[in-house]
Symmetry: C2
Subunit: 722 residues, 2 copies
């Protein structure tokens, strides 16, 4: 077996060889690395699909120009009427035109064309126009420089080994895969930046990063780095990393100058500060706007962006303490700072207020903030959703988040910025006056939907076009610049990239969804199945069924009704009801012999009140709170009647028996594909399905047993509980 | 600070300088390493205690002979009327005579004399005679060759580092400490023998082991090694380690010949087989007698001993399975083999049927076996009793075990060998005919109380002198040879040897108790306190109070009523009620909303029936079962009335509030010693006392909260439960 496989780019001989006539010539508008990638992808695909090796003609890519009336040929060209990275495909008179706003758009157009052709569409009459929903479509890799991957379930890092940066053929293949689904930004190192990784921003690693950045650029990807907020101390030899200290400011400015001298295409920094032991502004009594703006000022001259993670909470909580609520923490930290961040700062907000559980409410920061660029962070690494052993197709979950109505109705019943307590420090004296002022041009490459003149708040005429998360992160809902969409990546150096072959659907799906948030989960799954495994209808039907049932099944056998966290500590795999119950992480279910759940209503921790009015009301009352979140927001008796008509305890039993059965059903379904899939793929997957079935059974029995022992209430159906 | 401290051998200037006159000359019977150690110890002590450096005169140690009528002088000499390693001290006409059965006896006599003098006794009229209760008094070190120590809480190994054997001044100081309390056998490597440690029995390590063995011998200690049962494969290059395979037999015979050629004083092997992933005879369908006898035959020509651990159980149990009982496992494995072990095999049996919990019943194998040499294994490393952070003086627990009445009343109501199912294989054809026959002379150096002619069973005249564990292991209760007393050691390369200074009381106490099982816990504690910290009465009173309250306190805040195992998995420190409840280790409490405990009565797993009649009856009925073990043997409702008059639930609450308060009280008591103890000692200890108080509070709150949530029954005293 080769060291890596082609995933969804494993081109096959086409059923329609006549389409190869279009591949007789490829016309490109100019020589550039990215256009070169696009043309080579077309040529390589053509050779496999049609047995045709097209000629490439440069500088002739006008409307049919250069084709001299011949039929057959593909024209790659620019079209300035398209939004950034947008593309258009049309065909006429035997010619396919792929027009892009820029080289990136052309590249995406090429991948789109191949997608269409491989799905069985005919070139004749093709007409397609797409502009990316999100300007910034990013993968966050949690790769460590020793080669390990934090929460990595697909082997070792292909970016680092033995504290060195790796650049090889796999680097290119990775960039190609990512580009094929529209990813345009990649953070290669773990947000927990320690030891050698702190030095990635120094010339110790510039040579290799330069090579990597060039490869990335050829696939329209910008390289980002996670940085250590304490770098001024650890790298700069300073005694402080106080963001208001001039020497610290100078350190970052000089460091950025050096970075951009070596890496002109560099994207910027991703920062996890004051979180889970990471250093940050709090050490110096500064707030996170002061911290983020420090880096933003240093990056600004070069067009760089600061992605600042909002993952801040007390990770040394006393389990006895029922007042502190981890769910509130990011909201309480960042809401008072809304409007204080520089224009090239984007806050990266996890989809839920906790940490990538199978079910959480949407973070109230999304749409709570109205004057700050917001980026949605999801995790395709499946840390809490089966770790790429269980199938868990996450796109349906991401779509629920994207389509969540935040309920922004400004101006009106709510003034988040005025009504919030001022817990952060005010604007410091002597700070750069640009710190809180929006420039009239774009701050970086990603704020392309900004309405720059109106950044200071919402006026009467500024009713948002939509209050959905997808429109907020895209920059459509609010006058501040766009944010973007990021996922914690699920790749490693396993030959198939993602450990479980079916986990590649999450990699594929995330990219596709970030580019086009109007796609459905089924559409994405269908695309991915066809590209990966071909167009056999039975294979497609079985895999589609498995993918679409996988997230609900996982939720069924997991912690019930939104409560989360019933996992084994540290590694987070497998059930452990009390695993975090008496621990310091702020993750409790508070079960006793009468009931379970956390009261986050107004009568409890008040977290429900972090939402805009309609959602606040919805979540605050257990009678209206959606069933799937009711234990997240309320402590309810086992005999509480859900809207489904079942009691909480019977719901627990029923869903857990159901979920385990669904896992077994998925294994049975997949087993039916033996002989239809490549043997290696089948064997890798069936082994994992078997583990999933066993694990789901363990989830079922542990959760059911725990609650039967605790409540003393038997299963109405008399099934076996231990 | 020096790299190691003197622990209880830190001699001080004596309050009675006149006693120094006895140290004017030391007369020794001959030059030998062990006699030399004894004389040098006397000389070194004298120099510090009395400022006198005595002369040493050799070959003159008759009764006063050589002293030429002078007063003052110590005579070391042999006395063949004493049992092996026994000693006698008397003084007359200004001369102190220390008589020993052998060099070891003389050495122990010397340490005894110094103990007496340092405790304030006057030489004049001293008269003391001691013979060791146990012939084999052993420490098991779980040191790995990489320098780590499994369940080590006092630093790194001083026997190994980087896969090399260490021999240096600390080796000697360790041997001296061990000898001073009567230890005469030491296993230096972990019973889990892997990697390099498998090669300790080869010439790769003989040079260093020779040096170490010589040092040990000079302190009357024999070196033992833990061996890997799979050594014939890993070292010998064979394809099997089947104990009935001639090539395997040959491997061990040749290996033993090599070992004894290099290490003539070598003691023998300690073996953990078929346990927790270790290889063993089961792989080949052989029983443990066949496995042990294989090694015994190889060691026999050299007088070596096999110590075979009885720690065998299913460590991949399904928590749903209520029939399998780990407590039964060792009993079920070894009882059918009683009488089948060679005479130089000793079975090493943990004090309880589980694994070193703070409270367990005594293993029913002790005294269940009647034709097999039995050695009691305890653990002073405090794996489950506070890990040398908590003070837990274990001597009172060991005394309870030693004085436990096993209830052997043979011949009479029970025939353990006949009534046991024959689960092991019978004697294999073609096996060495000596395999199951006792020789008429001693098999090794440790069976000194054997009654060799009567080894095949108990006749009518053989009513045991006592049915207590101490008499069984000493070889007094049964006609088979003596076993011995072993402890899993608690030392490491911390300067004070044991992490917590007070944990040294367990090291000291174990040795003293192994030599003299008639000592009380208070006597031992008093000795240790005076030797270590001097004779200040207040210091002594406070430390005595702390030591004597420490084990009960630990039991109070630990898992209640003998149920055990409510600890964090893997590292075993701190409370976690469900930590092992849904795991594979066979360690469950089966709590539900009505009650808790494991039914091990005849109606349950039947474990109670493993005991002789009286204990069987006692444990089998919850009304007679001692309170402290009632949840080990029975599943009882929270409202069950204990013999104390309290309900189970109120007992849980009361003991946990009490235990946490006792921990705090110990800290307060110890804090009062500031200024009375060396600063370094005080600081090391007080930091640990503080951690203990915090940890005990955590135990209190987690256990109480868990059972309040589970039972819904409030504390009768209305104290705070979370």
């Amino acid at each position: 077996m080769e060291r890596y496989e082609q995933a969804w780019l494993n081109y096959r001989k086409s059923d329609f060889p006549e389409d190869g006539t279009y591949f007789s010539e490829i016309h490109i508008p100019e020589e550039s690395p990215c256009i070169r990638s696009a043309a080579e992808e077309l040529a390589a695909a053509s050779e496999i699909m049609y047995g045709v090796k097209p000629a490439c003609v440069c500088g002739t890519a006008g409307e049919g120009k250069g084709l001299d009336g011949k039929k057959g040929g593909i024209c790659l060209r620019y079209d300035s009427s398209l939004a950034k990275e947008g593309y258009r495909i049309d065909s006429a008179e035997g010619i396919i035109n792929i027009s892009g706003a820029d080289a990136g758009g052309i590249l995406y157009g090429v991948f789109a064309l191949l997608r269409e052709l491989r799905a069985g569409k005919r070139p004749c009459g093709l007409s397609l126009r797409k502009e990316p929903a999100n300007a910034l479509r990013m993968l966050n890799h949690w790769d460590n420089m020793d080669g390990s991957i934090e929460r990595g379930y697909s082997g070792k890092s292909f970016f680092f080994r033995n504290n060195e940066v790796l650049v090889d053929e796999r680097t290119k293949q990775y960039a190609r895969l990512a580009a094929s689904v529209g990813i345009n930004a990649v953070v290669i190192n773990n947000v927990n930046v320690k030891d050698s990784a702190t030095w990635l921003i120094t010339d110790r690693y510039f040579d290799r990063l330069q090579e990597m950045s060039r490869i990335f650029s050829a696939w329209n990807i910008r390289l980002f780095l996670s940085v250590n907020f304490a770098a001024p101390i650890e790298v700069g030899g300073l005694s402080t990393c106080d963001p208001l200290e001039p020497a610290v400011e100078k350190f970052w400015q000089e460091q950025c100058a050096r970075i951009y001298a070596a890496l002109p295409e560099f994207g910027g920094f991703l920062v996890k500060a004051d979180s889970e032991g990471r250093p940050g502004p709090f050490t110096y009594g500064r707030n996170h706007a002061e911290g983020a703006n420090l880096l933003a000022r240093a990056l600004k001259p070069f067009g760089g962006t600061v992605i600042w993670r909002c993952f801040v909470y007390n990770c040394t909580q006393d389990w006895r303490d029922r007042k502190t609520d981890r769910a509130r923490s990011a909201y309480d930290t960042y809401m008072p700072l809304d409007g204080q961040f520089d224009e090239n700062v984007i806050l990266q907000i996890k989809n839920g207020p906790m940490d990538f559980q199978v079910r959480e409410p949407v973070s109230p920061l999304l749409g709570g903030l109205t004057k700050t660029r917001q980026m949605l962070e999801v995790q395709i690494a499946q840390e809490y959703t089966g770790q790429q052993i269980h199938v868990c197709y996450l796109i349906p979950m991401f779509l629920e988040v994207l389509n969540f109505h935040t309920g922004i109705t400004l101006p009106g019943d709510r003034e988040p910025e005025g009504s919030m307590p001022e817990t952060g420090r005010g604007k410091p004296e002597g700070a750069d006056s640009s710190g809180n002022t929006r420039a009239s041009e774009e701050a970086d490459g990603y704020g392309n939907t900004v309405n720059p003149g109106q950044a200071d708040g919402l006026g009467a005429a500024d009713i948002p076009v939509s209050d959905c998360v997808k429109d907020i992160i895209a920059g459509k809902a609010l006058p501040c610049c766009a944010g973007g969409f990021a996922a914690v990546a699920n790749t490693g150096d396993d030959a198939n990239w993602t450990g479980h072959d079916l986990a590649a659907a999450n990699f594929y799906g995330f990219g596709r969804l970030a580019f086009d948030t109007e796609l459905t989960a089924e559409e994405i799954a269908k695309e991915w199945i066809r590209l990966t495994f071909g167009t056999d209808p039975e294979t497609e039907a079985v895999l589609m069924k498995i993918l679409m049932m996988s997230w609900p099944a996982y939720e069924h056998y997991n912690a019930p009704l939104g409560i989360g966290w019933m996992v084994n500590p540290n590694h987070h795999y497998g059930p452990n009801v009390d695993g975090y119950e008496y621990d310091r992480w702020g993750t409790y279910h508070r079960s006793d012999c009468k009931g379970l759940g956390v009261d986050r209503s107004d009568a409890g921790t008040g977290f429900a009140g972090c939402y805009h009015a309609a959602n606040h009301a919805l979540y605050n009352d257990p009678r209206t709170c959606p069933d799937e979140l009711c234990l997240f927001f309320h402590h309810l008796p086992y005999v509480w009647k859900l809207k489904s008509g079942k009691t909480v305890i019977q719901h627990i039993y029923d869903t857990h028996f159901q979920g385990a059965e669904e896992a077994a059903e998925m294994e049975r379904l997949f087993a039916g594909l033996k002989g239809k899939l490549p043997d290696a793929v089948y064997e890798r997957c069936i082994a994992r399905f078997h583990l999933q079935t066993e694990s789901a059974r363990e989830w079922r029995d542990r959760i059911n047993t725990y609650y039967f022992r605790m409540s003393g209430i038997p299963d109405a159906q008399g099934r076996e509980i231990f």
